[in-house]
Symmetry: C2
Subunit: 185 residues, 2 copies
């Protein structure tokens, strides 16, 4: 249990996710998480502010989206660029489908987690918008394209999580975008 255990954060996150699935988010304490990971509570608090942060850490989503936007081919429509970036992220997010669904349920049940989730979505939209502007897209188009894609992602994720039959999340993003086009068009 080295102070500098390089994988401590990963082990704590994995232990927390297992416990959230097994016994629920509310009944899981930081002491439980640390014990499952074979680490101390003190180590937990070196990596996370609280147990809620486990739900919002680890996937480095904003960096991935930014890299994807930067690497898109020239000449593509801004909405297409950000939608593609989000589709790529979807498969990463739902790699562990059971956990992703459970996570969505935990977030939906706790108002303060819903708030944080919306704040995270806001950060993702900012990252996508900045990425588009760095490609020379005008500010309004960049902002609206990014917000539309993130809105589609948020609603698609909610639908996917509440539908046990749904296979992949990514195609639902385009479904929601088509609905958005229909209602605004």
């Amino acid at each position: 249990m080295s102070r500098w255990d390089p994988d401590a954060k990963g082990r704590l996150g994995q232990a927390a996710r297992e416990l959230f699935v097994e016994q629920g988010f509310d009944r899981t304490t930081v002491a439980d998480i640390a014990a499952r990971a074979g680490l101390t509570e003190r180590t937990f608090f070196r990596h996370f502010v609280d147990k809620r942060e486990v739900l919002f850490a680890g996937d480095r989503l904003a960096e991935q989206l930014t890299a994807s936007v930067a690497g898109a081919p020239a000449g593509e429509r801004p909405l297409e660029i950000v939608t593609r970036a989000i589709e790529e992220a979807c498969d990463l997010i739902t790699r562990d489908a059971q956990w992703s669904r459970r996570r969505a349920g935990i977030v939906a049940e706790h108002p303060e987690l819903r708030e944080r989730e919306l704040a995270k979505m806001g950060l993702l939209a900012s990252a996508l918008s900045t990425g588009l502007r760095e490609r020379g897209v005008d500010a309004a188009t960049a902002e609206l394209s990014a917000e539309a894609a993130v809105l589609a992602f948020r609603l698609a994720y909610e639908r996917w999580a509440s539908d046990a039959e749904a296979q992949r999340l990514a195609p639902l993003v385009r479904v929601v975008l088509a609905e958005l086009r229909d209602v605004t068009g």
Copy 2:
């Protein structure tokens, strides 16, 4: 200073807004607010959880939006119904333009207030979506129309607040919706 002073909440809110404008949000304490209103801190905490709550209370926006949607003429497009509801709310929100701009600045500067603002927008979207469904609009159209209108409101409010020349907020909502149509169309 009656315990049941019927206007205590209004006076505390007014005092807080004045102080936030005069000396800034961070430098204003609950003690300052209570003193300005001629009330006690204890009374403040009977009406507000903390000074941040003053920024998010008082306008009963969700109820107003719901009433507006319920009262819309039959046969209108869902997006038009929710956009009209938001336009009506805009004039109420910006009644005190100096305060509304300052409020937007305070929110923008504090990450935890930005989070709460996004959460409030989520509640407004839910209220609008529920209102549309109660008129018989299908769930997907109701959700997307409500989310599109609230997104337009949020971005319009940011633009209005950062542009001292902007007169009215309401027309900017339609400008943003047109941009959203352009990027998704």
